[in-house]
């Protein structure tokens, strides 16, 4: 092109304002819901005996609102604001931006309606029902299209580190979300996940852990890389550290999911991978923290005066704290104590309140004056918000540490030479942590008040100013620059990548191999590592050139990110999903649910019982003493979704079936405190009034059959109904004998049937022995008497 044309581009900052306002509003909803459910744990009356206000239904609302509504909108505001500036061009499509904005808000409203009504898929952070799942996927792809289109239009040669993190976020969340939400609908409002049992557990925590990684961490790191240098007016600490920690984070994070399933029935090799990759994740995470904190070097004086820097510095510090605690909790023996307790809750809130919440607040306080062309309404109020939030987090996290460690120690404590439990009554351990649960409410409440102050402060700021959109001068010469070097296969297929793949290949041979192939794996890994180092020493300069080339090549960069993020999941999930179910049951085969039990299970899922009750007895002596024999893989093989749980506010239910009488459950569901004085479980009076949804059962059983659950092929709806009625009447009669009256069509009957079924299985080892013995005896009887082996006599 000849001649240099000047052109002024106006950024689309209107959508940034809207996303920011949406985020602030939803933050109040999400945090408010959090404070409410925290109060419910301590004061059971706060459940108000109303179905849509019970803990089990509101806890998913809290998590979804905090993650997808609050942080989601915050992330979009930050990404739209910074990407335009880092690309020196306006967001590609106004239409897509606004479809994205309104689509996302519509999804949130749908979630806020369906979750309290009890429409749930029963998987954590993936509770939303399938029509909403489809909307989320579509809107996310709209966002992705808009983002990559903007990258393609950019007037900037290469991609800044913030953009790398945004790319990683977009592609990885797409992958995680789609795979974990694959389901088979049975009606417009209900579906079963296509994975069951251990497969579902693995996929769920691959998703669940990486929702934290790629929804709550990587986009915020990108935001950190843009807003901290901006706010501090300092250069980023180290570009090299950015490169190393980005790629190691993206590659390693994906593998760490199984650390949510340590000491469970999950195959040991997967547990080990989960633990080891979590440990390896420590340094890459701290790389991000270092780059954030050390960028502030030379600007520490602002820490005293500027609330923005305060929030960012504290936010990054909490990130460092949470990413140190994470690997610690992933060590199997630490996890034996911490898992299912409040320690996990404290850990996750250190991350969300400290890292996400404070980074959001810092960003909002920095953005508002710039988006409305004015000064922040009140610096003092922002400082006040900071200190309230800080005290709130510390109270919250510290009380959860104490609570988690205390309850974990009590639950695992044994007496009399280790032969009996010291605290056989679960409720005793709950009563012990009551004061800590109350402290948590106070901490969370302070944090919420801080956010109300922020909302007010931002509102006053916006009112005082006028909305203004940023502009930038670009010259057409930049187009030329930007266009150059973008093509070329070699930018993303070259020495470093080839070495990476060879080394990784060696590692995989090592992981899966045994004997000679294991040694070969070590050998390949070592040789190529040395060759790569030697090559690097000889031609070091070229490699950084290579990376600079890659940064000009958005497509190549994206492809490599996808590969890096996909490997871990593929290695863990594909073997688990493709392995024949029958060979992976450890001798216990679950007995499929009867229609009544299946209806009860759907009530269990819909009421969100899994939020407080696990169904997984870990391979630990105190667990076996308390709940019975440890769980085997085959015992939940037909569970779509799996219900292993992640927190025990109440006891484990894996072997609940047959332990107590029907009328125990009847009275306990009516008012748990009648049976277990001091319990904090909500009462469920509506289960005694509402009819179970037995009309949906034929289509549900069809779906289950398609998913591989061995129901009779020729079961007609009438037969299903007859079987349902017979079992229900049986339970109702038994209850009536004890003076507990109800009708067969009520939900409580189905729920009792389900609870009494838990833990029933067929012992396939015995079956095989019998079968073998039978075959043998048949064989022998066919032989002439004199040739029978001696042992047969």
């Amino acid at each position: 092109m000849s001649g240099v044309k000047q052109q002024t581009i106006e950024y689309d900052d209107k959508s940034v304002r809207w996303f920011m306002v949406a985020s602030v509003i939803w933050s109040l909803v999400g945090l408010g819901a959090g404070v409410l459910i925290a109060s419910q744990l301590n004061f059971w009356r706060m459940n108000f005996d109303m179905p849509w206000l019970t803990f089990g239904r509101l806890r998913p609302l809290h998590t979804n609102a905090a993650i997808f509504a609050f942080v989601g909108n915050m992330m979009f505001a930050g990404i739209y604001y910074s990407t335009q500036r880092l690309c020196r061009c306006r967001t590609a499509s106004n239409l897509l931006t606004w479809i994205h904005f309104w689509g996302w808000q519509f999804i949130i409203v749908c979630a806020a309606i369906t979750l309290p009504l009890g429409y749930s898929r029963g998987k954590e952070y993936a509770e939303l029902i399938w029509p909403i799942n489809i909307m989320v996927a579509v809107i996310w792809l709209v966002f992705a299209a808009n983002f990559f289109w903007t990258l393609a239009k950019r007037n900037e040669k290469s991609l800044y580190v913030a953009i790398w993190f945004y790319i990683a976020t977009i592609v990885t969340v797409t992958m995680l979300y789609v795979v974990n939400h694959l389901s088979l609908p049975t009606s417009f409002l209900h579906s079963y996940p296509i994975f069951g049992g251990v497969q579902d557990a693995l996929v769920q925590w691959w998703y669940g852990h990486n929702a934290v990684a790629f929804f709550l961490t990587t986009p915020i790191l990108g935001i950190m890389y843009y807003f901290i240098p901006k706010a501090a007016n300092r250069p980023v600490y180290s570009y090299r550290l950015s490169v190393i920690h980005f790629w190691s984070l993206v590659f390693i994070y994906i593998w760490a999911g199984p650390h949510h399933l340590l000491n469970t029935a999950l195959p040991p090799w997967l547990q080990s991978l989960g633990m080891l990759f979590s440990l390896m994740l420590w340094a890459p995470s701290w790389g991000g923290m270092l780059n954030g904190l050390l960028t502030l070097r030379g600007a520490w004086d602002k820490l005293r005066t500027d609330p923005v820097i305060k929030f960012f510095a504290a936010g990054v510090t909490f990130y460092g704290m949470a990413t140190f605690e994470g690997p610690l909790l992933s060590i199997k023996s630490v996890n034996a104590l911490s898992h299912y307790t409040d320690w996990t809750i404290g850990h996750v809130h250190g991350g969300t309140l400290g890292w996400n919440g404070f980074m959001a607040a810092g960003m909002f306080y920095w953005l508002a004056p710039r988006l409305w062309n004015t000064k922040l309404y009140s610096q003092n109020m922002a400082n006040m918000h900071f200190w309230l939030g800080m005290v709130g987090i510390l109270l919250y996290v510290a009380s959860m540490w104490v609570s988690g460690i205390m309850q974990g120690l009590m639950l695992n404590a044994t007496a009399e030479g280790g032969t009996v439990l010291q605290y056989p009554v679960f409720l005793d351990t709950l009563q012990a942590i009551r004061p800590m649960m109350l402290t948590r409410v106070v901490g969370g409440g302070l944090y919420l008040i801080g956010f109300f102050m922020m909302a007010f402060n931002l509102y006053k700021t916006a009112r005082a100013g006028e909305p203004v959109n940023g502009t930038v001068q670009v010259t057409s010469a930049m187009d030329e620059l930007a266009g150059k070097d973008r093509n070329g296969f070699h930018t993303f297929v070259n020495a470093p990548i080839v070495y990476s793949f060879l080394i990784l290949g060696g590692c995989f041979i090592m992981i899966f191999g045994s004997g000679a192939s294991f040694l070969a794996g070590i050998f390949i890994t070592a040789v190529f590592t040395l060759v790569a180092i030697a090559h690097f020493e000889v031609s070091g300069a070229k490699w950084s050139d290579w990376y600079d080339q890659l940064l000009k090549h958005g497509f190549g960069f994206t492809i490599l990110t996808i590969i890096a993020a996909a490997i871990g999941g593929a290695i863990q999930i594909i073997p688990t999903v493709t392995v024949q179910r029958a060979s992976n049951i450890e001798g216990h085969l679950q007995i499929p649910y009867t229609p009544l039990e299946l209806a009860g299970r759907d009530i269990y899922v819909s009421e969100g019982c899994y939020n407080c009750h696990s169904q997984m007895i870990r391979t630990m002596v105190p667990e076996v003493m308390r709940y019975g024999d440890y769980s085997r893989l085959g015992e939940s093989i037909y569970d779509h979704p799996f219900q292993w749980g992640s927190k025990r506010t109440g006891p484990d239910l894996a072997r609940e079936g047959g332990k107590r009488s029907d009328d125990w459950h009847f009275y306990h569901m009516l008012n748990p405190r009648d049976i277990s004085p001091g319990s904090n479980m909500p009462s469920y009076p509506w289960l005694f009034e509402k009819q179970a949804d037995f009309k949906a059962l034929p289509s549900k059983i069809d779906a289950m059959r398609m998913l591989g659950v061995p129901y009779d092929m020729n079961l007609s709806p009438e037969e299903i109904q007859a079987e349902y009625d017979a079992q229900a009447v049986d339970i109702v009669d038994r209850l009536a004998e004890k003076g507990a009256y109800t009708e067969p069509d009520k939900q409580i009957v189905a729920l009792i049937a389900y609870l009494q079924k838990l833990g029933t299985y067929e012992d396939t080892t015995k079956k095989e022995e019998e079968k073998a013995a039978e075959e043998q005896s048949e064989l022998f009887s066919a032989l002439p008497a004199e040739t029978k082996p001696v042992s047969a006599n």
Binding site: N233, P235, S272, F277, A283, G418, P424
Partner: protein, 195 residues
């Protein structure tokens, strides 16, 4: 742009050995390029090396046990300790003797009040579970039968097995407590028909 001016101060700063201020800036954001902190690299390499070693020891060393083998072994050990410390729970006279020991009875009462009370009532009058002071003993009236009922439970009746949770000692104490609330002669008479 004004931002470029604002940031000009660090351009003049003297940089330590090996630190480079990269030329290119993005929307006014500059980057240093400097070596990675040594302790950070040690953490990264250390974790990777540890992982390799852990994997080798866990999956390629003969002596390593799987988690289930480990818990099974430990449970077997515990069973052995229990056996070694076990008392004769078929000795009915012994239970009656215990029911006269204030220590046994008060320890049993504590366990009863924290666990059994929900189904059998504060005064053993029953509720979801049977009445324990009415002289009627559905699952056997002999102290050893009562012990057995508590230890192993009665499947499908709601009486759960407390053996693994409470252990022998606490269950004998509970039985002693229950016996202390009953009349020996009545129970022994009942045991004749329903041992």
């Amino acid at each position: 742009m004004s931002e470029e001016h604002e940031q000009s101060d660090f351009h003049k700063e003297k940089l330590p050995e090996g630190v480079v201020l990269k030329e290119h800036s993005y929307d006014g954001i500059h980057e240093y390029d400097q070596k990675l902190p040594r302790w950070w690299l040690l953490t990264l390499y250390g974790a990777i090396i540890f992982s390799g070693l852990y994997w080798m020891v866990t999956y390629h060393y003969e002596g390593s046990k799987t988690p289930t083998e480990r818990v099974d072994d430990r449970l077997a050990e515990i069973a052995a300790i229990r056996l070694a410390n076990s008392i004769d729970v078929t000795d009915n006279a012994l239970f009656w003797e215990m029911s006269e020991s204030p220590q046994f009875v008060s320890a049993g009462e504590a366990t009863y009040k924290s666990i059994c009370i929900t189904c059998h009532g504060a005064n053993l009058e029953g509720g979801i579970g049977f009445n324990l002071v009415d002289g009627e003993w559905v699952h056997g009236a002999q102290p050893s039968s009562i012990y057995n009922t508590v230890y192993n439970g009665v499947p499908n009746t709601g009486m759960q097995a407390w053996g693994s949770q409470l252990g022998q000692k606490r269950i004998t104490e509970v039985v002693a407590y229950v016996l202390s609330k009953n009349d020996r002669s009545v129970m022994e008479a009942a045991a004749e028909t329903n041992p």
